[in-house]
Symmetry: none
Subunit: 343 residues, 3 copies
């Protein structure tokens, strides 16, 4: 919990534990990635809101701006306890970086496993004027290098957020009588009316609620494609460009973009429809890539049927997905070599 962090075990660190229930899991008993993402985000929202209000100043609520790429290292099961701990690892003038770690604990055997390490970026919005970003009190660093590394992470994510702001206009069009294993066959969407318990004090949807719905749709796309037990393997960086207000209807749509031998990549869009009290048009609020694997009854990875691409756009997206897949694979191998070299 103390890797790239603030000085010592900060008093600001927070821990959340919860027993995983049947409703948190699929029928094979594996807890949905979305349940974990929601717990991670709640811990992040508490610690960053607390920090941003720790000095006299304008009361504010921290809003999720971005989640860095997150891997699901091992599945969590019903009856296990998910222990989520969060701490603040960097602050810029207007944003807070939170590092969250999730451990699953089998309280019967005592076995513990690291299941997730996530990095979230929050921006504090004024309670009185939701369009105003307030200043973040700086944290103390144990060593100068920690601040420098944090600054580097900050600059990188800022750049990435600007870039992905471009990609969006896309809409998912329905297909009549699609063939199995085509994109149209598995694409899915749901609508959700944003209720009071989905929202922060500012009246905007918690990032974790959005991520849970995204994982739900992506999981249905994956299951429709391979008709087996599927679990979330990773989520690419997610940027939250636009807030979503209470009373909106959100449409969450997913389509498969790429398959490797043992994994599937699904692109998910969230569109908001402020249909009751506002003249505003439907807008794209969030988009992201989720990766799933297919598991046998014994929990072993199964081969995934190849995605059949038909249109030019589908072929292009498949190639782009392949690029992301190979890049991630190369990064992981580099990390493993580095770790091996350090031992």
């Amino acid at each position: 919990m103390s890797e790239p962090g603030a000085a010592g075990p900060s008093p600001a660190a927070i821990q959340v534990s919860r027993i995983m229930r049947p409703d948190d899991a699929n029928i094979a008993g594996n807890v949905h990635g979305g349940t974990i993402l929601k717990m991670i985000e709640e811990a992040g929202a508490i610690i960053s809101t607390r920090h941003c209000n720790s000095q006299a100043g304008e009361p504010c609520v921290a809003a999720l701006a971005r989640v860095e790429r997150t891997d699901f290292l091992s599945p969590v099961c019903i009856g296990e306890v998910a222990n989520v701990s969060a701490e603040i690892t960097y602050t810029s003038r207007h944003s807070v970086e939170v590092q969250v770690n999730v451990m699953s604990e089998n309280i019967l055997t005592g076995a513990k496993k690291v299941t997730n390490k996530a990095t979230l970026w929050y921006v504090p919005l004024s309670l009185k004027n939701v369009n105003k970003v307030v200043e973040v009190p700086p944290i103390q660093y144990a060593r100068k290098e920690q601040e420098d590394e944090g600054k580097k992470r900050y600059e990188e994510q800022k750049l990435d957020r600007l870039e992905t702001k471009q990609r969006n206009g896309d809409v998912i069009l329905p297909v009549i009588n699609p063939e199995p294993h085509t994109v149209g066959y598995s694409q899915s969407s749901l609508i959700h009316l944003v209720g009071p318990s989905d929202c922060t004090l500012l009246g905007f949807v918690h990032g974790g609620v959005t991520m849970k719905l995204m994982d739900e749709v992506a999981g249905i796309v994956a299951a429709r494609h391979c008709k087996t037990n599927i679990v979330t393997a990773s989520v690419d960086a997610i940027n939250f460009h636009e807030k979503i207000k209470k009373g909106c209807v959100i449409t969450v749509s997913g389509r498969m973009t790429f398959t490797s031998n043992k994994s599937m990549e699904i692109e998910v869009f969230v569109d908001a429809d402020p249909f009751v009290d506002e003249p505003r048009e439907r807008y794209r609020a969030v988009s992201a890539f989720f990766t799933y694997v297919s598991l046998s009854k014994e929990g072993k990875p199964l081969p995934v049927p190849q995605l059949l691409t038909e249109t030019e756009d589908e072929k292009r997206r498949f190639e782009e997905g392949k690029g992301r897949y190979l890049q991630t694979k190369a990064k992981r191998q580099a990390q493993m070599q580095q770790q091996a070299a350090q031992q």
Copy 2:
């Protein structure tokens, strides 16, 4: 509660009370019709399951087969208590009729209002063999006429169930760039992965869970059409032809079929996709008509924009909807005259 019923205050009568919470309601504070339908069905399922297990015999669980047309007589608000009472009013060899009444109670002022009267039909399925219908213990009637009237209701609904079994094949096709107030503009659909808490002990979805999702989609269709605060006014008779198993993905789709000056009729379909462990194809599980009204901020009915029909099918469905509307109106007027004559 004792209108068309069993002798005296039956020991089998049950009552369910619950405070309405923010998540049970829309942003105007009106409780969703679907929340009420789900409570009604839960009370019905409990009382009929209890009755069917009241004599030595095969353990069984009552499954919802049909809900008669239900009117929402007055809106319920957050903070009020919904009091749902249920009693068994007729039994055939293989089915149970349950009469449910809902009263809303403002516990601060003590004011009470009848909000719903519903009639539900249940069929007991063996706990060991879900395809076996077990025998229902007969109830005692205070007077012979009660039994005769019950038998008449039983025959009528049986006939109606057979008829509606035909209507289904229909699918809701998406429309690109639809104009406001057309059918394509407001049509909506959601998908839901059936989890453990959605299901009975037999592992099949509670009828009330299905009805709640249907009301959710129908409400979004209505709100998209008129962009105001809308509330459920009534639900036509719903037949549950096919069971839906845990682990299925269900697609709930709604489209507007008819508008009068002050109301909208929305047709809702539920399709089940038993996609993980079964070779079975997607099938139509339920369909129904919901009627909504649009309310001003003061709670007064507003005029509804007329539905613009484009295709032949849309025009035909509009005429059929008009037929149902006029028939209901005529029935209501006849009832009122009858009541006036009796006073």
Copy 3:
């Protein structure tokens, strides 16, 4: 958190934090006592199950046996964070005492308040044979006195549990057209079908789920009596005599027993109906006394209308309630004098 406790900051301590949502609260924004009780019990269940499995032996799940009298020291509001921390403070051969503290934190102002201190007793039941109580690994005490004090608390609660096992047979009968402020006027009941997410790994209801339903019914009784905003002030010791299995229907009934100038005492019963697959009769599973106060819009205590007792039983229960009220008052005064003397 370290008052009567185990040596040092035990690794076994656990913390749970959660933002309070609109659904956790009444319409005045005060979080339900039941929400807090449920969080307390979840923390207790995690820490005691973890401890009881910490040595090689039969896998087991800790079941709630008893909650000591609990005071709600200050109300919690929507948007605040409830921080629940639990540690084990005593172990006997077959039971575990857990001390839980709840702090509410306004993350905007940083203000923290102690809201509850609760003591819970758990008994570990074998995962393979739910009727077998397994042995509890002993904890280490920092000082001999801690063990002695723990043993004293253990003996006291054991005696009390035996006593209350007697009181039960009572049933709440409905009253036709009751007068305001009589017992019959405010008495209430609800039924709940026990679903999978209500249960532990053993398939029995979590104590916290039961307590939340009890608080819901007691709150309706209190609101019906005084027609104002009411909040939970305290809960008397609750003994869980009998387990409740998944698939049962539970009936939770409440009736007012006593009013002082500023408080109301409500007796709550939980009856379980194992109605499907078991031949067993309905049985009394839990009973308890809840105390509520009535608050003005500014959060100040209001006078409570006096309870009108009619029958001999009601008068007797009123006197008994008065006895408990005076006893608690005397104890609190004694404590305050002791604290004053120590300063």
